[in-house]
């Protein structure tokens, strides 16, 4: 790490990007997919398409059924969470915690009968969503790893901007068919620069969403250790009430639901019942976000025994809290309609491409000269590149495939889907270690393409409601399969490119020399890597 400021930044960009590149790639892929989390969840629970949505006036009765179920099955629990039926999830989603450490309870109920729903057991899009910020690790560990990676990503972004000298001159430049390092560098620059506002926004707001988790000391100091007071003031929760340690029956919940529905125009999303059966029981009704950039759920708290309204939390946030909720809202993009969501999704894909081209560039810049043997680190990086860039999409496809092919009544089905995901990923990451580099790329990319096609085939074969099998079937299946076909096509194209690739002829070299003579910028000309031992890029 010596020489000019820009060279130092190039060094920083290279290494900060490499060490977290693969984890970041998986965070970006799963995060990008999470823009369509409700759709993925709905696709993975095909039984729901046959369930009639629950009308709003019937919500009270449905909530009563949920409370009745919890009263018999989770009487000892300290908190009950009742997800109310939504258009994309027309069931009661019950969740309860008995005490910290014990595994939480979770069940889906039919809102009309109160019996357990016969839907297949799956985490749906929630698995990808949680992987995005917890990596399927214990939550505390996962969030720390993701947070550190995101912070290093921010370092890589800023140092990348400093390193990239010709942002405006090369703004639109993507030279295909030149020396590989030139084309890959162009692809890396274009995907990075064109979506730079998105990359900066998503990385920064991503860290901010968990800021009080990473840096709790401000809250600790200002609220004298009482974090609950901060959460209340920031309107994340209603004022907590400790249990009175005196038994008292819970008032009927139907009237509370009616009262809540009458109070606001947004749909009710869930109920939270704290300390049920206690004299200080609290029922909190949580609404969907009002349309806006800011991520804030209005909440109404009821006294669980008398049924009287204790507290109403909706809007009126002070500037600091508002800034926070707007940042979270921007990150999640709940406000985005179809078109804008597609643009967010495209930006996410560009982020994935930026990271993928970045880690590939690292290995391209260190290819051994003719006659030299590749060093161990290079082999490892090359194999990890294939294992993540082709391996993760393959694993996601296997996850979808497992959802369709595993027996519906398999015990622990939800876990088996996730095991299939990780099993596929491990295989996809190990195989490239034993294969020649180019062969490994070709096989990996082709495998993703085949798996995506298999998802489409399995979908059509196992879903009687598929629009291709029954006129008037749910169009969701067709859309999902269309997206899978598109991905299959893209990965097949990429595999074909790797297979057919030939290094450009020497004639290109002269062109590069001319280019360099005309504009003496310190961009490493790809055609002459041997002359520059420490490239400023890649």
């Amino acid at each position: 790490m010596k020489g000019s400021f820009r060279q130092s930044m190039a060094w920083l960009h290279t290494w900060s990007g490499l060490i977290v590149g693969w984890v970041l790639f998986s965070i970006f892929v799963t995060g990008t997919a999470s823009y369509y989390r409700p759709d993925i969840s709905r696709w993975m629970r095909p039984e729901f398409t046959r369930v009639e949505p629950v009308e709003a006036p019937a919500l009270g009765a449905a909530a009563e059924r949920a409370v009745a179920y919890l009263g018999t099955h989770a009487a000892q629990a300290r908190t009950w969470f009742i997800g109310l039926p939504q258009p994309d999830k027309p069931v009661l989603d019950l969740f309860w915690r008995t005490r910290p450490g014990a595994p939480p309870g979770h069940v889906l109920l039919d809102p009309r009968t109160g019996t357990e729903s016969s839907v297949r057991d799956t985490q749906g899009g929630d698995f990808l969503y949680r992987f995005h910020f917890e990596l399927h690790m214990p939550p505390l560990w996962g969030r720390w790893v993701v947070g550190i990676c995101a912070m290093i990503m921010l370092v890589a972004l800023i140092s990348g901007i400093v390193t990239h000298k010709r942002i405006f001159a090369d703004f639109f430049t993507f030279r295909r068919g030149k020396a590989p390092r030139r084309s890959w560098l162009d692809a890396h620059n274009v995907t990075g620069v064109l979506a730079l506002p998105f990359h900066l926004m998503i990385t920064y707001t991503g860290i901010i969403t968990l800021a009080t988790f990473y840096m709790p000391w401000g809250v600790t100091a200002a609220y004298k250790g009482n974090a609950q007071a901060f959460f209340t003031e920031a309107s994340w929760i209603t004022t907590p009430r400790p249990p009175a340690k005196q038994a008292a029956p819970l008032a009927p919940i139907g009237p509370m639901v009616e009262q809540a529905r009458a109070a606001r125009s947004e749909p009710l999303e869930r109920l939270m019942i704290v300390n049920p059966g206690d004299a200080n029981a609290t029922v909190v009704a949580v609404f969907e976000e009002p349309h806006g950039l800011s991520h804030e759920h209005p909440q109404i708290a009821f006294d669980g025994v008398s049924g009287a309204i204790l507290e109403v939390r909706d809007g009126g946030l002070k500037p600091a809290a508002k800034t926070f909720t707007v940042m979270t809202g921007l990150h999640e993009g709940h406000f985005a309609g179809t078109m804008l969501r597609l643009l967010f999704f495209l930006c996410g894909i560009m982020g994935c491409a930026m990271i993928a081209t970045g880690v590939v560039l690292w290995s391209l810049a260190r290819l051994p000269k003719a006659g030299e043997r590749p060093f161990l680190g290079l082999r490892l990086v090359q194999a990890l590149n294939v294992g993540s860039i082709a391996g993760l999409p393959a694993a996601v496809a296997v996850y979808f495939l497992a959802n369709r092919l595993l027996p519906v009544d398999l015990a622990g089905r939800e876990e088996w889907e996730i095991r299939a995901f990780f099993g596929a990923w491990i295989v996809a990451a190990l195989v490239p270690l034993a294969r020649p580099q180019r062969r490994a790329w070709c096989e990996g990319l082709a495998a993703v393409s085949v798996l995506c096609l298999a998802v489409v085939a399995a979908d059509i074969l196992t879903i009687p409601d598929h629009p291709l099998r029954r006129a008037g079937g749910d169009p969701l299946f067709a859309w999902f399969d269309g997206a899978m076909l598109l991905l299959a096509g893209l990965f097949a194209l990429a595999a074909r490119k790797v297979l057919r690739y030939e290094a450009p002829k020497k004639a290109h070299k002269n062109e590069h020399e001319r280019d360099r003579a005309a504009k003496p910028a310190p961009v490493p000309a790809a055609a002459q890597p041997a002359r520059r031992p420490e490239p400023t890029h890649a």
Partner: protein, 116 residues
Amino acid sequence: MTPLVLAANLGLSFAALAALCLSLNRHHAEVFDRKAERAAVLRLRAFGWGAIALSFFIAGLWEGWAFGPVQWIGALTGAALGLVLLLSYRPRYVAPAALAALAASALPLAILAVAA
């Protein structure tokens, strides 16, 4: 309103970015096989930045100044991605596509103006 405003802004952004892109010597040569004249460069740049500013105001006016900027940046990014791909695979089509995008953005704008 949103899809109309977004469609208008995508077209406008595409035309604006294509103009800025064609004001650069390298891309001008790729598309037209000759260097750009100084006056043409200035005209293209003025149009490009002007259209980007216009699209910002359109987004702000119809979507409000909270959603507007988000949508404006989204449209710019989406249009830029399309432009770079077109420039790389079919450079000859860039100029006609930019004119078509500009014309196409007029329709949603007209609908919006009539409705307003």
